[in-house]
């Protein structure tokens, strides 16, 4: 597939807008449909498209596996961290009220961070899943 110039150029052109759209969905989730989960999938799809068109090796160069694994856990840690922070500030787990100067500000900060954590984990899990499935032949078919 990597011989086809139309696909290659189209992918290069589309790559940035897809990620931009993903970020829009991520941070616009408070006002319209969207949020961390959908954004995660959209951002993942940009990397998957790149890996499909330019080959898995190029994809891994663009987004290495160990960074992928790190970010995959980081999203969950961020989400749990918000909960633990609110616990340390004297409230229940995941009560965002204490995070800001007023209750509403706290809720805004909490929701923003939490959605970001979801987006991080989801996008990285989807990329990791695709890598694992596409890479299966080289490790599994050795019998």
């Amino acid at each position: 597939m990597d011989k086809n110039p139309i696909l290659r150029i189209a992918t290069k052109i589309l790559f940035a807008p897809i990620i931009l759209f993903g970020l829009y969905v991520q941070f616009h989730g408070d006002f319209g449909p969207g949020g961390g989960f959908q954004a995660g999938v959209i951002i993942a799809s940009a990397f998957i498209l790149y890996a499909i068109v330019f080959g898995l090796e190029k994809g891994k160069e663009l987004f290495p596996l160990n960074i992928n694994l790190f970010l995959l856990a980081l999203g969950g840690i961020l989400y749990g961290g918000v909960g633990i922070a609110s616990m340390l500030l004297g409230e229940e787990f995941l009560s965002y009220n204490v995070l800001g100067t007023s209750n509403q500000a706290g809720q805004h900060i909490g929701i923003l961070l939490v959605e970001f954590g979801v987006g991080l984990t989801v996008s990285n899990v989807m990329i990791a899943l695709f890598y694992a499935f596409a890479d299966f032949k080289t490790s599994g078919e050795t019998k």
Partner: protein, 497 residues
């Protein structure tokens, strides 16, 4: 700081393994990941003991997550009932983690050890979360965390024996169907009551009478949970999953996984719905009671004809689950308490039996069949003395924990005018001696291979010794278990009558 810990104990028992699982996966050194896992399970166990103390001070703790008052937000409920499975899960998971130190690297390739420990902690966290939650949908989420993690752990057995993969697949598909049926049930109940909080749900259900959707919702919920708890005709995933999982995973799953679901079953039957309701009385009498009796005999008979030892123990688990559901089905306070006693004791017994058998496969690189057992008792005395003691406990010989639970189940069934049930329990126990004797005979009285020169590893047998000691201790002085179980059933059934 202590204030914060005491105040947040209900969530800490879940969050502690959950957060650590996210960190363990990043650790490249296998030994270090084991150390972190061990300390996490230890801390979780300490938290659960503290929680036990707190519960007996306050009778019931409600923890509103995100500080949104239930039924608006999700609520965690810890009472004298839910503390029983929490203690079981955290205790067994701690002991099993010690056990896994040598066994895990021998069976799983070193590049995936940290991932396996991460999944291990996720499975534990999922089970504890399942038990503590007071919200019907949150229960589903944790059900899925624990079952996905356990499926992956079972599939790790596929590195040694390809059947582990098929076992994991069947577990996954049946588990997913069970979970989906549960979701349908919750959906129907939500559709007619408009709430997901279990306490609120039970209040609103009491106001509704004669609604077909209520009956259907109840049925779907119960069937979904029964798949997860491996109640008799829905148990088909269990023998293979236990038999082909890696050793340490078999121990963990056999001792904890079905226990959490059985607790949920009791909770739905007695606390969400009303025990005096004809719907529940009919379900107990005409569905769960016959199925339990069938399970008792079917499980035992399958175990008698089984030659693969791990499968044999799995079949025996099905029979033991039958005893527990039978005790629930009788439906008196004494019998439900007996069910909880057996829930605890069976976790100890099955954990120990699986530990003894799988530690054997650590020394001898073979699948363990009845033929392979010949003469090993003399080669590995420590392991198999423990094995014999726990077998006696399973059969219900006096001075062991198993005796106590049988005693209370039989006492409860006689006082509920079920002499014939008591007779059936005795008959099935007598049958279980057949397969236990078969193994003991092979171990101690058959000539075996000479010159094996097995040197038992202390990290492998110390956890086994701990569980065996607990088996004897709770056989001699059962007051702690019995009292907690009676308090639990009092709280579970007492509120309604």
């Amino acid at each position: 700081m202590t204030d914060i810990i005491i105040k947040n104990l209900p969530i800490l028992v879940v969050i502690c393994p959950l957060m650590m699982s996210l960190i363990v996966v990043l650790i490249p050194y296998n030994f270090l990941s084991w150390v972190i896992t061990l300390s996490t399970t230890f801390i979780t166990f300490i938290f659960s003991l503290l929680l036990y103390q707190e519960v007996y001070l306050h009778t019931s703790i409600s923890y509103a997550l995100g500080n949104w008052a239930p039924p608006l937000g999700i609520e965690y409920v810890i009472d004298k009932v839910s503390i029983v499975p929490i203690i079981i899960i955290s205790l067994i998971s701690f002991i099993t983690t010690i056990f896994s130190s040598k066994i895990m690297p021998a069976e799983i390739n070193s590049s995936s050890i940290s991932k396996v420990y991460s999944l291990w902690l996720l499975a534990i966290a999922g089970l504890i979360g399942l038990v503590t939650t007071g919200d019907a949908f949150n229960l589903f989420v944790f059900l899925e965390i624990s079952s996905l993690a356990s499926v992956a752990l079972v599939a790790m057995g596929g590195q040694k024996d390809k059947q582990g993969l098929v076992a994991a697949y069947n577990y996954l598909v049946l588990g997913a169907v069970g979970a989906t049926l549960y979701v349908i049930g919750v959906g129907l109940l939500y559709g007619i009551t408009g709430t997901l909080n279990l306490a609120d749900l039970s209040k609103r259900i009491a106001e509704i009478n004669d609604n077909k959707a209520l009956i259907a919702g109840f049925g779907f919920m119960i069937i979904g949970i029964m798949v997860k708890a491996a109640v008799f005709p829905l148990h088909i995933w269990l023998p293979r999953a236990y038999a082909y999982a890696p050793s340490a995973v078999s121990v963990l799953l056999a001792a904890t996984a079905t226990k959490a679901s059985l607790y949920i079953l009791a909770r739905i039957l007695f606390s969400v719905f009303d025990i005096s309701d004809t719907l529940i009385i009919n379900t107990l009498q005409y569905v769960i009671l016959p199925l339990s009796i069938l399970a008792m005999f079917a499980g035992t008979i399958m175990a008698i004809f089984e030659k693969d030892i791990k499968r044999l123990l799995a079949h025996s688990s099905i029979a033991q689950i039958g005893y527990i559901t039978l005790a629930f089905a009788i439906g008196t306070k004494a019998s439900v308490a007996a069910g909880f006693i057996h829930l605890f004791n069976h976790a100890l017994i099955k954990g120990a039996l699986f530990m003894a058998i799988t530690s054997m496969s650590f020394y001898i690189n073979k699948r363990i069949t009845i033929n392979n057992l010949s003469g090993l008792g003399r080669e590995m005395p420590i392991t198999f003395v423990c094995f014999v003691i726990c077998s006696l406990s399973l059969a219900g010989i006096p001075l062991t924990a198993g005796f106590i639970s049988k005693l209370y189940i039989i006492k409860a069934s006689i006082s509920a005018d079920g002499i014939w049930i008591a007779m059936l329990i005795l008959a099935s126990s007598a049958l279980s001696v057949v397969y236990l004797w078969k193994m003991i005979e092979a171990l101690w009285f058959h000539e075996g291979p000479k010159n094996l020169l097995i040197k038992e590893n202390s990290l492998v047998y110390i956890p086994l010794l701990i569980i065996t000691f607990l088996n004897i201790y709770f056989g001699l002085d059962a007051s702690l278990v019995v009292n907690s179980s009676f308090e639990a059933s009092e709280q579970l059934l007492g509120a309604r009558k």
